[in-house]
């Protein structure tokens, strides 16, 4: 693969289609600037500021953009809130649609056949694989991202996190808790 990729890159560069220096900047951006810590800031803000939470649930694209996270694969955002009664989980059964602007690049399992096949049919089984056991009374809602809307799960604020600052709260927010396959860490 290494050689084939290099050959294609060289040819596209030679033909004036790509600038290798731009590729370096792109890779750096997705390794250092655009990842799940962005989403964690959004979640922590919503936990602390009721007005931001309302805005996020009404117009996620604008609310998220106000924190500086906008653009590619986050152009049309929807935030879905977990409550004691409802647990949300996100999948893309057709490919690998994922909210890059807030979560970065998707983990391999999110793009894998087993997750895409099972998440919609056996969500409790999938959650068990992730070590999450929900009460039988909690309804699970699975969002299959089949168009260009991208979903961010707003997890429940962990109990006992009252005295934490927004930044400390953000540290409790895991990537998986924003996909819905995990829960935030306990303080």
């Amino acid at each position: 693969m290494e050689l084939r990729v290099r050959a294609l890159e060289a040819r596209l560069s030679e033909n004036g289609y790509i600038d290798p220096a731009a590729l370096d900047v792109l890779i750096d951006a997705y390794q250092t600037r655009i990842g799940p810590r962005n989403g964690a800031q959004v979640v922590a803000r919503a936990w602390v500021h009721p007005e931001f939470r309302r805005w996020l649930l009404q117009d996620a694209t604008a609310a998220i953009a106000s924190l500086g996270f906008a653009g590619r694969q986050g152009e049309h955002m929807t935030a879905v809130e977990n409550t004691p009664d409802v647990h949300n989980m996100v999948v893309c059964t057709l490919c690998s649609c994922y909210p890059w602007s807030v979560l970065g690049l998707p983990p391999t399992w999110y793009k894998s056949a087993p997750y895409r096949a099972r998440a919609i049919k056996d969500p409790r089984g999938v959650l068990r694989e992730f070590g999450v056991e929900l009460p039988q009374t909690t309804q699970i809602r699975i969002w299959d991202s089949t168009a260009e809307v991208r979903y961010l799960v707003l997890p429940q604020r962990p109990a006992g996190a009252k005295l934490l600052s927004e930044r400390e709260l953000a540290n409790l927010v895991t990537r998986d808790s924003m996909i819905g396959t995990g829960l935030p860490k306990s303080p």
Partner: protein, 210 residues
């Protein structure tokens, strides 16, 4: 020729565990970030659109044997060669992504919403039935949600229609809805209690009143 997507996996029996991965572990081989960046950098060149890319990926005969970045690479190679981009006389690119415009380009993204030129046919709460027949081309209605009755949950406005855009037939923008289904409607007696709700984002041409 019959169109066959190998990517429509929802609800299928797929063996194997879901292998978890720590945060920040985006790549597993040195060529993977290059492929990601190549695919993103090719967007402004206008060689193809996202729906064409998805269509080429999902019809790769060995789709199920490839890793995700291998799929991206194989589709990129195929499209580039189909579009003459690798030839000695390539068509000129629309725009080339430069290092100093990368961050602004990412931030801008490529919104798919378009102005509405018609009224939405459905409103929140309406019962709808999805198209039953498999499409003979790229589509975004997954197989498990074909011929099912659901309820409109959200009206998202008008968006580029992948079914035409993937075939180079234009954007033909359509109303987009989130449609929710009860697990029992989707899986019948195989549905597992307590029943969950599954939703898909469906374009208006996929839907009829129920």
């Amino acid at each position: 020729m019959t169109y066959r997507s190998h990517a429509d996996l929802g609800g299928q029996d797929v063996p194997g565990a879901i292998v978890q991965e720590p945060e920040g572990e985006s790549f597993h081989a040195p060529w993977e970030p290059r492929v990601m960046a190549l695919v993103v950098a090719m967007v402004p060149t206008g060689m193809s659109n996202i729906d064409m890319n998805r269509s080429v990926r999902e019809t790769l005969p060995n789709y199920r044997d490839l890793s995700y970045y291998e799929i991206w690479f194989a589709a990129l190679e195929k499209l580039a060669s189909q579009k003459g981009v690798l030839s000695d006389a390539p068509p000129p690119p629309k725009q080339v992504l430069r290092a100093d415009t990368v961050l602004a380009t990412i931030k801008k993204g490529s919104p798919t919403s378009r102005p509405a030129s018609s009224l939405a046919r459905f409103s929140v709460g309406d019962r709808v039935r999805t198209a039953a027949a498999p499409a003979e081309h790229h589509t975004r209605l997954p197989g498990y949600a074909r011929g099912k009755v659901g309820v409109i949950d959200t009206v998202h406005g008008v968006h580029v229609f992948p079914d035409t855009n993937a075939r180079g037939l234009g954007e033909s923008p359509q109303w987009l809805y989130t449609v929710k289904f009860d697990a029992r409607e989707l899986w019948g007696e195989n549905a597992q209690a307590p029943y969950s709700i599954v939703s898909v984002d469906a374009f208006e041409p996929y839907l009829e009143p129920a």
